[in-house]
Each structure stands twice: as structure tokens, then as C-alpha cells.
């Protein structure tokens, strides 16, 4: 009697450990850019609900940290909002890891103003002057005679990063700019202030604000993908060497227009297809 119960207990425990092992068998670690994080999060959730025995652990920390983790082997996938630097490639190759880039989405940032604003177009250099605090009245850029209220994003957001790269060209947004904590907050602030200008990810655009063309090109999925719209950038996932097994499956899932790319759009970014 005692013996049988012992056997049963052992069997149950063995089965339990086996299950646990199974669950941990497919383990994907993703680290890196906080810009790519919302995409990775949505896609990872969808992927895990389809493949219950694959565990994905996800963390932010910035593009640089993600690539650093890829170089020292502590992550399977590094999310990055920029292309890998030459120095980083050299370091990775020294450690025997060949970083492979996958562009998974595009980030497109559009300047927005209040719907009553009659300004029709802004060039990148005008945008820069506005954000440096040099242009103080809408009249100077062909708009109504009103003060310009500059709305920017918190300096650690990915959206700000694009703006800083593509518009500000290493110069600072002036200190008098209002900083909002999210795309939604910028839309809210611009829609309730007829003097305001802000910038948001294309996915957050709605009728309460007016998107301005930049260099006479309207920001859209089409102009982003054909490269004519100036304020956009691709977002990457890097793997060490050509991906295999679960990581390959996951990357395929991300790139699939029916699956991963659907979530890219949901997260407010421009899908590849």
C-alpha cells in the first residue's frame, strides 16, 4: 500500500517536472528599444496564445542596451529603433556572433496642428526653427496671426528620438516647449489649443487635429514605405546569426502580413506590407 502510493507520488512528480521542462523548453528572450516594445508586446502575446509552450520574456532598456545584450549573448532578439553601428558589428563578430537585421515596421511621425489653423505646409527647416523657439508666430510660416505654442514629447520617448534625429539635427528643442507624456496627450493638447503644434505617430492621427505635410509630402503609409516622407525610420529586430527554431518561428510570425504585421498597425506603426 505504502509502496504503490510512493510510486504514484514519484510518477506525478516526474510528470510535473516533465511538464515544467516542456514549458521552459521554448524560451525566447527579447530586449531593447522602448519604441519597438509595444509592437513586440502585442506580437509576443498573440504568439504565446497560439504556441502555449513557448515563453517569451520581454524587456525595454533602449536600443543600445538591446544590442549590447545581443553581443554578450544574454538575449535572442534585440529590438532596435536604429540600425546597428559599425563598432557594435565589430564587437559582435569578435565574439562570434553575426547580427542579422530584420526590418519589422516603420515609424512615421507627423506634425499636427489645430483644425482651425490655416497653415498648409511646413519644411523640415521651418519645423526645426519652430522647435528651436525661433519662429514665434504662425504668420511667419503662412498661417494666422497667432502665437506658436510648441508641444513636444518627453525626451526619453522613441517619438522624440525620431524628431530629434530627423528634424532637430542634433540641436535642442527649446526649454519653453510643453512636454507631454504620450501620443494621446499630444493629440488632446493640440485639439484643445488653436495655437499649438505637436507631433505624433501616424497611428494616433484622428479628426480632432490636422496633420501638416512636410516638404509638401503628406505623411502616410504609402509615402513612408516609398521613402519620400522625410520624418520616418525603420524599426528592427536583430538576431545573432540567422535565426533558428523558436526564434525563426517568432520572426516569421512578426513578418507575416496576416499575423504580426496586423499588430504593428494596432500599435500605431506602419506595417511593412
Amino acid at each position: 500500500m505504502k509502496r504503490t502510493s510512493m510510486i504514484i507520488i514519484t510518477a506525478v512528480m516526474a510528470a510535473f517536472f516533465f511538464c515544467v521542462n516542456q514549458a521552459w523548453a521554448g524560451n525566447i528572450v527579447i530586449k531593447g528599444s522602448t519604441t519597438v516594445l509595444p509592437i513586440a508586446q502585442k506580437v509576443a502575446e498573440a504568439y504565446m496564445s497560439q504556441m502555449p509552450d513557448v515563453k517569451i520574456s520581454l524587456s525595454g532598456g533602449g536600443s543600445g542596451n538591446g544590442i549590447k545584450a545581443l553581443i554578450d549573448g544574454s538575449t535572442d532578439i534585440a529590438d532596435s529603433s536604429r540600425f546597428i553601428k559599425d563598432k557594435e558589428v565589430t564587437m559582435a563578430v569578435e565574439k562570434g556572433r553575426y547580427p542579422v537585421p530584420f526590418a519589422v515596421a516603420y515609424d512615421c511621425i507627423v506634425p499636427v496642428v489645430h483644425p482651425s489653423n490655416s497653415t498648409v505646409n511646413l519644411t523640415v527647416s521651418r519645423l526645426k526653427s519652430i522647435y528651436k523657439g525661433e519662429i514665434k508666430n504662425w504668420r511667419e510660416v503662412g498661417g494666422p496671426d497667432r502665437v506658436v505654442v510648441v508641444i513636444s514629447r518627453d525626451t526619453s520617448s522613441g517619438t522624440y528620438e525620431v524628431w530629434e534625429q530627423k528634424v532637430m539635427d542634433k540641436e535642442r528643442v527649446y526649454a519653453g516647449a510643453l512636454l507631454q507624456a504620450s501620443n494621446g496627450a499630444v493629440v488632446q493638447a493640440v485639439s484643445s489649443n488653436k495655437n499649438a503644434i505637436g507631433y505624433i505617430g501616424l497611428g494616433y492621427l484622428d479628426d480632432s487635429v490636422k496633420a501638416l505635410p512636410v516638404n509638401r509630402i503628406k505623411g502616410s503609409e504609402e509615402t513612408t514605405l516609398n521613402g519620400t516622407y522625410p520624418i520616418s525610420r525603420p524599426l528592427y529586430m536583430f538576431t545573432a546569426g540567422w535565426p533558428q527554431g523558436d526564434v525563426l518561428n517568432f520572426i516569421n510570425f512578426v513578418m507575416n502580413p496576416e499575423k504580426g504585421q496586423k499588430y504593428v498597425k494596432e500599435a500605431g506603426f506602419v506595417p511593412l506590407f
Binding site: 505654442v149 535642442r172 519653453g176 512636454l179 493638447a189 484643445s192 489649443n193
Partner: protein, 309 residues
């Protein structure tokens, strides 16, 4: 026989009661200790995560630097504008909340009828329980456009709007603590004053307020420390521009707003992260000072019985 048994019983009961007493005492001590240790650990953590920034920036440059560009290359960590913003927001909100809070308390305790008091006091206390995000949203969606229209200013998300919302939040605190203090002024004092021929107003001004000043001050300071530490409201309605304001309609960026907005995206244990924790230390000192002042006042002017006056 019978008697000895009873004595033994009583003796045993006494013993078990004593040990039970001890266990309970120990339990309470342990609980008190646990919460104090937790608090102490949080403070230690705050300092551990904040102090490393001072190996990169001097304390003076950090506190008095005018530029807050934490993600630039090279970064600049100067929180002077943030400190000024916090002080300005708290100051302007106190100008509004102290008179309103204290006068409401006086009205409720002294002039209002018992029935009115019973209706109004719970309502005031209910305002205190409004979630700050709701107040922030109200400020953003309703008050900001309203201010823009009425004062014809370029932007409604500014120091004044934030102060208004903070005042709204600290009035209940000030009012309810002051009201308790005023209400508990011994009735003999008032009776004596009235009996000597003083009017109701003279009694309030010369007797009731001096007698309850410690409670009122405690309420005021707790209300102010609520305002300086409040995060959500200032994050939503203060505008967020990291510059020293030149008018009350300028957008500002108080310390809690800066910490809340940037912490999520600051690289873990990077300079920016340390700088945000160091900002937290500064904020901690502000609220600590407020609480110490409140404590001092409530001890210094503590009313001992009816005889102190």
C-alpha cells in the same frame, strides 16, 4: 480542597493572560517594526539609487543648473527649473487653498447649523477622495480651454491651471483637519469670551483661532505637502516645460511630473535614472521639512486643557 483548586485556577489563568498579553504586545511591536523597516529600506534605496549621479554632476550644478536635457549627448542634469516649478505651483495653490480651507472650516465649526454641517462636511471629505487622475483630466479637458478663452493666453496647460487643481485637492485636507481643531476648542473658552461682552466675531478672531492655531497649521502644512508631492495632476496640466516661469500663465515642469514621465524610459541604472532618483531625494527633503514643521508647530502650540490661554 475546593478553595485551593480555585486559587490554582486563578493563578493559571493569570499566567496565561499575562503570556497572551506578551504575545500580543510582541505582535504589535513586530508589525510596527515591519512598517518602519520597510520605510527605512525605501529611504535607503532612494539614496542608493540617487547618489551615484553626484559622481558625474556636482550637487551645485544639479540643484542650480538651468538646463534639463537628460538624453542629450552630453546630457545636462540641472533641476533648478523643476525645483522652482514645484515651489511656485505649491505656493500659488496655497494662496488659494489656505483662505478657502480655513474659512470653510470656521464656517462649518462656528456658524453653520448642525444640519448643514452634517451635510457639508462629508461632501468636503468626499472631495478629498477624488482620484487625482480625474482632477487632472478635468483640468486638461475643461479648465485649460476655459483659461485660454477667458484670459486670452496662448496655452491653458500652465502653472495657474496646475495650482488651481492642486488647491482643489488640498482644500479638503486643510478644511477637515482645521475643522476638527476648531470644533474641539473647549466651549468654556467661548462662553467666557461671550460672557465678557465680546461679539461672535471677536470670539472667533481672538479666542477660537488662537486656541486652535496648532491644528489649523498642521492642516495647512499637510495640505501643502500633499500639493508638492502630487504627481498625476501636475503631469497632466502643468504643461511640462522645463524652464523657470516668468508669469503664472507659463507652462512649468514640477519635480514629480518629471520623475513620473521619464522614469519608465530611462535606461536602468544609467545616469538619467540616477538623476531622476536624485530628484526624488530633493522632493523627499521638501516633504520631510514640511512634515517636521507640522510636527513642530503642533507640539509647540499644543493646547493643554482650557488653561493655556
Amino acid at each position: 480542597m475546593f478553595n485551593t483548586a480555585t486559587y490554582k485556577d486563578i493563578f493559571r489563568k493569570g499566567k496565561s493572560r499575562r503570556s497572551r498579553e506578551q504575545i500580543i504586545r510582541f505582535l504589535f511591536f513586530a508589525i510596527a517594526l515591519a512598517s518602519i523597516i520597510t520605510l527605512a529600506l525605501i529611504v535607503v534605496f532612494l539614496f542608493m539609487e540617487g547618489l551615484p549621479i553626484f559622481s558625474k554632476v556636482s550637487v551645485k550644478a544639479f540643484l542650480f543648473g538651468h538646463y534639463w536635457y537628460p538624453t542629450d549627448d552630453p546630457p545636462e542634469f540641472g533641476i533648478f527649473a523643476l525645483i522652482i516649478a514645484s515651489i511656485a505651483v505649491t505656493g500659488v495653490s496655497s494662496i488659494m487653498s489656505i483662505p478657502l480651507g480655513v474659512l470653510t472650516a470656521l464656517f462649518l465649526a462656528e456658524t453653520a447649523s448642525a444640519r448643514l454641517r452634517e451635510i457639508v462636511k462629508p461632501i468636503v471629505e468626499l472631495i478629498a477622495s477624488l482620484p487625482s487622475v480625474v482632477i487632472g483630466f478635468f483640468g486638461m479637458v475643461v479648465v485649460a480651454p476655459f483659461l485660454q478663452e477667458v484670459f486670452d493666453i496662448p496655452v491653458g496647460l500652465n502653472l495657474f491651471n496646475a495650482s488651481l487643481m492642486l488647491a482643489f485637492m488640498s482644500i479638503p485636507t486643510i478644511c477637515s483637519i482645521s475643522e476638527d481643531a476648531i470644533f474641539s476648542v473647549p466651549v468654556e473658552l467661548k462662553e467666557a469670551s461671550l460672557a465678557l461682552g465680546a461679539t461672535h466675531w471677536e470670539t472667533i478672531w481672538r479666542v477660537v483661532i488662537p486656541a486652535s492655531i496648532s491644528g489649523i497649521s498642521t492642516g495647512v502644512i499637510l495640505g501643502m505637502s500633499r500639493a508638492i508631492g502630487e504627481t498625476m495632476v501636475v503631469l497632466m496640466v502643468a504643461g511640462g516645460a522645463a524652464m523657470v516661469p516668468s508669469s503664472i500663465f507659463d507652462p512649468v515642469r514640477p519635480m514629480p511630473a518629471s520623475i513620473a514621465a521619464e522614469m519608465a524610459e530611462a535606461p536602468f541604472r544609467g545616469d538619467h535614472y540616477y538623476a531622476l532618483f536624485a530628484t526624488g531625494i530633493v522632493l523627499f527633503f521638501f516633504t520631510l521639512i514640511f512634515n517636521m514643521v507640522a510636527d513642530y508647530i503642533s507640539n509647540r502650540y499644543r493646547q493643554v486643557g482650557a488653561a493655556t490661554l
